[in-house]
Structure formats: structure tokens, C-alpha cells
Amino acid sequence: MQYALLIYEDEAVYRDENGRAWQEIIAQHEAFAGELAEKGLLRGGAGLKTANTATTVRRTAGQHGLHDGPFAESKEQLGGFYLIEVPDLDEALSWARKLPMAGDGSVEVRPVIDED
């Protein structure tokens, strides 16, 4: 089955003066993605720029409205995702546990709609 690992973190953790926290987490993500790829489990994924770069298009009763900022105003924001192919939820959860994170945060594990 394919699962999306959606990463929610407080972006402030990476906003240090010399950008070291950011560089460190990028290196850790490269290693994590490398491990997934080596095992043939990686199907996709991306890191997202910070939530202040987001623009949200909201459709209400057929009308589109635009607003600056992410969909939900909360401390933890969607920061990126991995798409992995593993046999079952337990394995997806064990990868979610290993996912690099500098501080507190959450990884939402969601099965991807099966196309066949």
C-alpha cells in the first residue's frame, strides 16, 4: 500500500541565526530519503517552503476567495511529505517514527487511494 507521511512542525524551530538547524534537518532528510530509496520504498515527496509563503484559494458556495497564508492558522504547519510504498500500516508507522524532526511535531500517516 502507498502511504503519505505528512509532516507537521513548528517552523520557528528552524529559524536560528546562522541557519544551522535548517542545514542539519536537510541533511537528515537526505539520509532518511536515501534509506527509503535504497529499500525501494520511496515513491515521492517534497519539502515545502514556510507557511508564510502560502496563498489559499477557498471555495465557498461556488465562489472563490483568496487569502494570504496557509489553510489552517496553527503553530504546527504542514512542512512537507513523503510518499512511500510499504505492506501495511505498522510499517508506515515505524517509518513515521524514524522521520527526522528538530523539535516537537506530528506525522500524519494517510493511506493513498488505490487506483486499481
Binding site: M1, P87, L89, D90
Partner: protein, 419 residues
Amino acid sequence: MAGSLLDQAARTHGGRVIAALAARFRDLDLAEEAFAEACLSAAQSWPKDGEPRDPAAWLYSVAQRRALDMLRRRGVRTRLVPDPPSPPPSAEDVMVDDARLIPDERLRLIFVCCHPAVAPDARAALTLRLVCGLSTQAIARAFLVPEPTLAQRLVRAKRKIAEAGVPFEVPGPEAWPERIGAVLSTLEIAYAKAHEDAAGVGQHAGYAQEMLDLTAVLADLLPNEPECLAFAALVRYAEARRPARLDDTGAMTPLSEQDPALWRRPLIIDAEALLHRAARRRQPGPRQLQAAIHAAWCSRADLDEPPPWPSVLALYDALLCWRDDRVVRLNRAVAVAEVEGPARALAEVDALDAVAFRDFGPFHAVRADLLARLGRGDEAVAAYDRALALEPAPAERLWLERRRGMALLQTRSSRRSPG
């Protein structure tokens, strides 16, 4: 009658048959539906052809064929399903089958039902439904929720299991600390429902035995997990006392008044062995303390020996370090009354959250008893009335009515006596 024979077969073997089907087809709904259809065909053919020699094997074979038919009808590619047996077994083949050949997948099914991905309030219900074969109606009654609510909860849980890809496996040892806790909590909730029913004739009668079986399987599979062993011991101690829990009139007998001669010794011996094995691991835990409280009671040789209240109180004190919840505190208060007196116990009970306990019969029964012992008969009667208003089981009702009668006498005699 074939009808009751079928009911009994469904209750006794349902869990095992559904678990085997679920493990094979990886689909809880399919397993349940196929089992229900097999019961339907049993209802038609058993009265005609006679009862099969091995009802479980019969039900499994028929259900398995029904499941394959259903899959074919649904047009699902048989990705996860091995090739259907060819030719399909005839009725005679089915008759000579052997239930021992059905793989025992109940443990796997328990781990599925108690997966952390399943909502906590659905885990016990799902386990009771699928593993213990209780009806939705019976489970709804046990959990005090309307039947449609419970049915909805079960549907949501099964959908989550199917769509999120919860594996039909017993997890590896690295996941045990997290997963076993969820399984044990679920089984505790399920067993508490069976245990509350002292007479053992209510809707939970069938699964006290089931709990003995399941905990034996769990203790076998996880021989190094002290809390698993302790829980298996606890169920055995509690079931050992079942024959002594009712008196001749059908009223409940409190633990301290039960005749130890009536307890089932072989179960106590099994329980002691399990608890010793748990203690040897030197990893204490709440379930070991709870089992030790049962052990203290079950070590009583006869009614002449004083009840072990001081040890029971010490064990409750230790248990509070692991599990400081109001039910533990209430049970502890019962021991406090015996060791330090009813006034002290009542003070502790009255410090508990009465609102949370409003609909909890044992809370009112304990308070009533303490009030009666302190000579506050009117308040005791009122507390007994509240306990009785909460629809206790027949054995508990008889006992409560008797105690209420005594409290009432007490108020009359105290009014008659001057000063």
C-alpha cells in the same frame, strides 16, 4: 433443539472461526458476513441432516466457501486470496473435517481489534463482537450506549482497519510495549463486564471461558511479559471464585464471606504459577499488583481464618502508585474500613468525585455500607436506594435489598431506643 445447538455453536466457535476467516481473507466484514451465512445454512441443514460431528469445522468450511463466492461475486481480483480449493468440499467432506485443523488466529484478531489506529472506545467492543461473538445489542447494553451508536462505532472501526491497512499480524517484539498495553487494557474492560455478572448467567456468561482461553494463548505467546502473565493469573483467580459468588437464595456473596472450600483449586494453582513466573521477571506493574490482591484472597484456607485485609490494603497502596484512579481508591476504601475503621473509609470515599460516580452502583453500595456501620441508617437507606435505582444484576439486587432492609431496621430500632 437445532436452534439452540446452533446458537451455542456460534457462541462457542464464532470467535475462532471468524478469526481464521479474517486472517485468511484480511477482511473483517467478509469474515463476519460469511460466518453469518454459514450459520444460516446450518439452521437449514442441521435439523434435516442431523448435527455435524464437528460443528466448528462444519461452520468454518461452509463460511470459507461462502467467502470465496462473495469475493467472486464482488469481482475482486484474488490478489490476497489463495486459489479456491478444487473441487469444493462436499457436505460429507465437511462432516469429517476436524476443528483442530482450523488455525487459531484469535490472537492475531485481538491485535487487529486493539490496534492503536482503532479508536479506543471501539477496541473493546470490536474484540467482544468478533473474538467473543457477542451480539451488538449485548455489547451496547454492557457499555451503556444506544445500540445504533455502538453499531456505528463498530462500522467506523472496521472501515478504518480496512482502509488504513492495519496488518493482520501479531506485531514484532519491538512494538510490544506499546501494543500489549492496548491489548491488555481492552481485555480488562471486556473481562470486567464478564466479572460484574456474579451469577454468570447474563449476556457475558459465554465469554468468561473465552477470556480464560484468550489469556492462556496470550501468556503462551508472550511468556516474558509479566503483565500478560499477571492478567492471565488475575482472570483465573477471579474465575476460581465464581462458584462461591452466590448464596442459596441467589444473592451475591461478598468476597470476605465466600467459603474458600467452594473455590476451584485447579484454577488457583494455575494462577499462582503464572503470577510466580511474572514476579521472576522483576518488572513490577499494576496488573501484577491487582493479581496479588486476588492472590491474597485466594490464599485464605477457610472462613475461620481472618480475611487478609491488612495485606489487601498494603497492596492497594502500592497499586495507587501505578494507577491512581477513582475505582482503585473506592476499592481501597473498602479495605480501609476493615483496617482503620468505617469513619476513616467514609472520609476517603466522600473525598472522591461523586459526580463522576453518579451512575456507578458500587460507589453507592460502598457508601451505604459505611454509613450503616456508622449508625447513619437514613443516609444508608438513601444510598442503597440509589444503588438499586441503577438496575444492578439480579444477584446484586437481592444482596442490596437485603442490606437495605437491615439498614432500615437499624433506623427503626435507633428511633425506638432512647437517647
